[in-house]
Symmetry: C2
Subunit: 465 residues, 2 copies
C-alpha cells in the first residue's frame, strides 16, 4: 500500500530539500514574524531617508505590496546603497514608535547597485504616470503600480483554477495553432516557418508557402470554444485559460492583439439561466477572493478599490436585447449600426447603478451560427453578453445549437464538418462563455487602459522584446 | 470592516446560485454516496450487456476513470440506448453481489443516440491502438485511453500551480508574440495578419509585409525565459506555464510544433545545487500528488504505472558532462557530434537504474550565451540537463550570467539590449529552468508517443481542426 503521509514525511526528512531561510520573503516576515527574532531579507530599495545617525530604507521583494522598513546604522552605509539597488540584509526585528514592524540591520550587502543618473527611468518619491512607465516595459515591474497589478493578475489566475477545480471541471489546453479561420472574418494572424530552407525542404507541387508546413493554412486562435466543445462531449464540464489573438488595426484603450481568455463549456446545460448563475458565481468568487488576498495591492492601484463594490451583494440584473434598446432610446444614447456600441454598453451599466448586467435574447443576425435559437421566437438566439463598469462587454456566451440538421444548415464552412459531427454521436446539450481576463482586471482594479493589465502588451506597431 | 465568512454565507443563502443536484457527478457518487439513496447521473454508455430481465450499462461522465454500473429493467430499454449514446438516469443506489456500488434505474432518458454503423469510429469491448484513435481527434476524448490522459494532464497542471503558489511564486503570463527571434536559430514561426486590407491600411514606405503590423518582424515564442528574467528582477521568484513553438521539420515521437513549457526563474539563486534541489522537489511533488489524485487513470493508461517508480524515494544522481562522456565511452554508446543524443541520454538514465539524472557543468560552446561561466573553469558553464526515462532530456536550466560586461561581450544581437540592461540596475543573481509538460507526462504515464499527451497535437503536415 502506497501511504502518502508517511512517505512525504520520510521524503522531506531524508532529503531536506527546501533549505529556505525562515521568513526570508517579506510577505511572510510581515505576516508571521515576532519582535526580537533574527531575520534575513533580500529585495530592492524603494525609498531611502538619511538622518543624522540612522538611515531608513524601505525594502520590497515583490512578494507583497508592503515594504519592510530597515533601520541602518550610519556605519553600515556604502555609496552603492541607493534607491533602486538590490540588497541583502541581516538583522533583528523591532517595533517602530508607530507600532510598525521594522528590521534593525546588523549586516547590509548591496548585490546590485543602481545609478539613476546612468539612465534608470524611475525616480524616488515620484508617482510616474502609466504612459511613462509603459515606455520601459522591461523594467516596469519595479514600479509599485505595475507590480501590484501583476500580483493581482497572478492571484486572479489562481482563484480561477481553484474555482473550476472545486467544481471538478477539466482544464483543457486548447491549441493556439488552428486551421479554423473563424468563419473567414479576416481578423486573424497567419503563421508559417521563418526559415526558407525548411519551407523548401517541405514544399510539394502546387502548394503555396502558407500551407507548406502544416498542409493547410494555419492561424492563431481567436477562441478555444469549438475545441472545448469537442472535449466537453466526451468528458463533461471543461474550461481553458490561455492566450487568444486578433489582427485588428485597433488602438483603443480596450484592445490588444494578444490577450488572455477564460472559456468554459458546461455539459448538460439546458437554460440560459443556468449559464448566467454560473457566470455570476464565478465573477463574485474571483472578486471576493482577490479582495482578501490582495487588499493592499487593490488600494494601491486605485484608491476607489478600498471599498468592495456594492453590486457584490446583489443579484445581477437581466435585460433582453429589446428591453435594452428601449432604455437606450429613452436615454437618447443612439447607434446607427446594429448591436450595442461601447457608449451604449456603459449607459446600460449606468442604468443598473453601475452594476454588471446581462443582455439576453439577441437577434439571430447579430450572433454566431452555433448559437441555439429561442424556442418561442426563431429570430432570436439564446445568447448573453455581460456588461460591466469601465469596459462594457466582459463576457459573451450562449447555449449551443444541439440539433444536427439545424446546425448543418447554418454551418459556414466544410472545414467545420468535425464540429457538426460532434452532434451526430452521443450529443448532449451544452452552453458556454468567454471572459476576457484583461477586461476583468480593468473592471476589478479600475484600470482605464488595458495595456496596463498584463506584463507584455502587444498592439499595432508595438511588440517590443 | 469587510467580513469574508459572514458575507459569503449571506451571499450563498441570498442567491442560492449553485443549484447542483447532489452527487450528480459520477466521481462524487462513487466517493460519497450511500446505498439506498436516490441519485441522478448523466454520461455516456461505455458498455451494454443485455440479459433476460435486466440490462447492465456502464456509464462514464468524464469526471473519473471509473464507470458506474446501471441496472436497467427491460421495460425501460429503448432502441436509442446503445453503446456511445448519452443518457440521463434517475434511480436508487444499491450494492452489486460483488459489493460494488450500482444504480438501479427508475427512469432512463437517451439524450443523444449514437449509431456505430453510421460512422462512429469506436467499438464496444475494443481497445483501439493510439495510432487509430489519433485519426479521430475531435472524438478521441470519448476513449478510455485519451480521457485518462487528459484528466492526468489537468491534474498535473493544478499541482504545478499549487506547488508554486505554496512557495509564493508569481505566475507571469509571458507573451506568445515576440520580436526576439531566439538568436536567429531559424526554427521559429513568423506571424502576420491574414487580411490584405489590414496590411494595405497599415503599410508604410519601405516596410515589408513581415513588419507592417507590429513595426518589426514578429515570431511565436520558443521560450518565456528572457521575459521571466525581467519580471524576476523586479518581483522575485516567478514562473510561467504556457504554449511554446518550434518550426522544425521533425516527426519523431518526441517532437511537436506546439507544446507546453513550464519555466521558472529563481531570485537570489547562487548555486546550481539550489536549482537542482528545487527541480527535484517540484518533480517529486507532481509525481506524488498525481499518483493520489489519478491512481485509476495512471493504471488504465499503462499497467506499469500501478506501482510508484522506485526513484521517487531516492535522491537524483548528478554527473558532470565529462563524467557522463566517460561512462558513455565505456558503454560504447558513441556520438559523432557534440553534446548528447537521445540514445546517449537514455543510456545514462539506464546507468542510473532508470532514475532521473542531472548532467551539470556543460562545455560553454554547447550552451547559450546567457549561461554563467563556472568560476573555476571558464570553458564550462553552470548549466544542467535533467534526463528521465522514456524521453531523455526533460528539464534544461542554468545560472544566468549576472556580470554586465561579460554578458555584453556575449550578447548575440542588439535587439537584446533590454536584456543586458536588466543587469545594470539593481541586478540580482538568478537561475532558472524549462520543463516540457508533454515529456513529463510521457515519463509519468509511460506514453511512448508525445502526440498522445495533449488534446490537439500539431506537427508537420498535421494541424486539423
Amino acid at each position: 500500500m502506497w501511504c502518502k503521509k508517511s512517505f512525504i514525511y520520510k521524503f522531506k526528512n531524508f532529503f531536506n530539500l527546501t533549505i529556505q531561510k525562515k521568513y526570508s520573503v517579506i510577505a511572510s516576515v510581515l505576516e508571521n514574524a515576532n519582535i526580537g527574532e533574527n531575520a534575513e531579507v533580500r529585495g530592492w530599495v524603494k525609498n531611502l531617508r538619511v538622518q543624522k545617525e540612522l538611515i531608513f530604507a524601505d525594502v520590497n521583494d515583490g512578494s507583497c505590496a508592503q515594504k519592510l522598513q530597515i533601520i541602518i546604522p550610519k556605519e553600515l552605509k556604502t555609496d552603492a546603497l541607493t534607491y533602486g539597488s538590490s540588497v541583502h540584509i541581516r538583522g533583528k526585528l523591532s517595533k517602530s514608535p508607530r507600532g510598525q514592524l521594522e528590521l534593525v540591520a546588523e549586516n547590509v550587502k548591496v548585490l546590485g547597485p543602481c545609478v539613476v543618473l546612468d539612465g534608470y527611468p524611475f525616480n524616488p518619491r515620484t508617482t510616474h504616470p502609466p504612459e511613462y512607465i509603459r515606455q520601459y516595459i522591461h523594467l516596469r515591474s519595479r514600479t509599485n503600480f505595475l507590480s501590484s497589478i501583476l500580483r493581482v493578475r497572478s492571484s486572479v489566475t489562481k482563484h480561477i483554477h481553484d474555482f473550476y477545480s472545486s467544481k471538478k471541471y477539466l482544464n483543457v489546453h486548447t491549441p493556439i495553432l488552428t486551421s479554423n479561420d473563424c468563419e473567414g472574418a479576416g481578423e486573424v494572424f497567419k503563421v508559417q516557418p521563418d526559415c526558407e530552407d525548411t519551407i523548401k525542404a517541405m514544399m510539394q507541387d502546387g502548394k503555396d508557402k502558407d500551407t507548406v508546413y502544416f498542409g493547410s493554412k494555419t492561424y492563431l486562435t481567436v477562441s478555444g470554444q469549438l475545441h472545448l466543445e469537442a472535449i466537453c462531449r466526451g468528458m463533461g464540464n471543461v474550461y481553458t485559460l490561455g492566450p487568444t489573438f486578433r489582427a485588428e488595426n485597433a488602438r483603443s484603450r480596450l484592445h490588444l492583439s494578444e490577450f488572455y481568455m477564460l472559456e468554459a463549456e458546461l455539459a448538460f446545460c439546458y437554460s440560459l439561466e443556468q449559464l448566467q448563475n454560473h457566470i455570476e458565481e464565478l465573477l463574485k468568487y474571483i472578486f471576493i477572493e482577490t479582495r482578501h488576498t490582495n487588499e493592499a495591492d487593490l488600494s494601491l492601484i486605485d484608491k476607489e478599490n478600498s471599498k468592495p463594490p456594492a453590486w457584490l451583494q446583489k443579484k445581477f440584473a437581466t435585460l433582453t436585447y429589446d428591453e435594452a434598446q428601449d432604455i437606450l432610446k429613452k436615454k437618447k444614447v443612439v447607434n446607427t449600426e446594429n448591436g450595442l456600441n461601447k457608449e451604449q454598453e456603459l449607459a446600460l451599466v449606468d442604468y443598473c447603478n453601475g452594476a454588471p448586467v446581462f443582455i439576453v435574447r439577441w437577434p439571430k443576425d447579430l450572433k454566431s451560427f452555433y448559437m441555439k435559437e429561442c424556442q418561442d421566437d426563431n429570430t432570436k438566439v439564446e445568447a448573453l453578453d455581460l456588461l460591466a463598469p469601465i469596459t462594457g462587454e466582459i463576457v459573451g456566451g450562449s447555449l449551443r445549437e444541439d440539433d444536427y440538421d439545424r446546425l448543418k444548415s447554418k454551418l459556414p464552412s466544410d472545414k467545420l464538418n468535425w464540429y457538426l459531427e460532434l452532434r451526430k454521436f452521443g450529443n448532449i446539450p451544452t452552453g458556454g462563455y468567454g471572459l476576457g481576463l484583461e477586461r476583468l482586471l480593468q473592471t476589478m482594479c479600475g484600470i482605464t487602459n488595458i495595456k496596463d493589465t498584463l506584463p507584455f502588451p502587444r498592439w499595432p506597431h508595438n511588440c517590443s522584446m
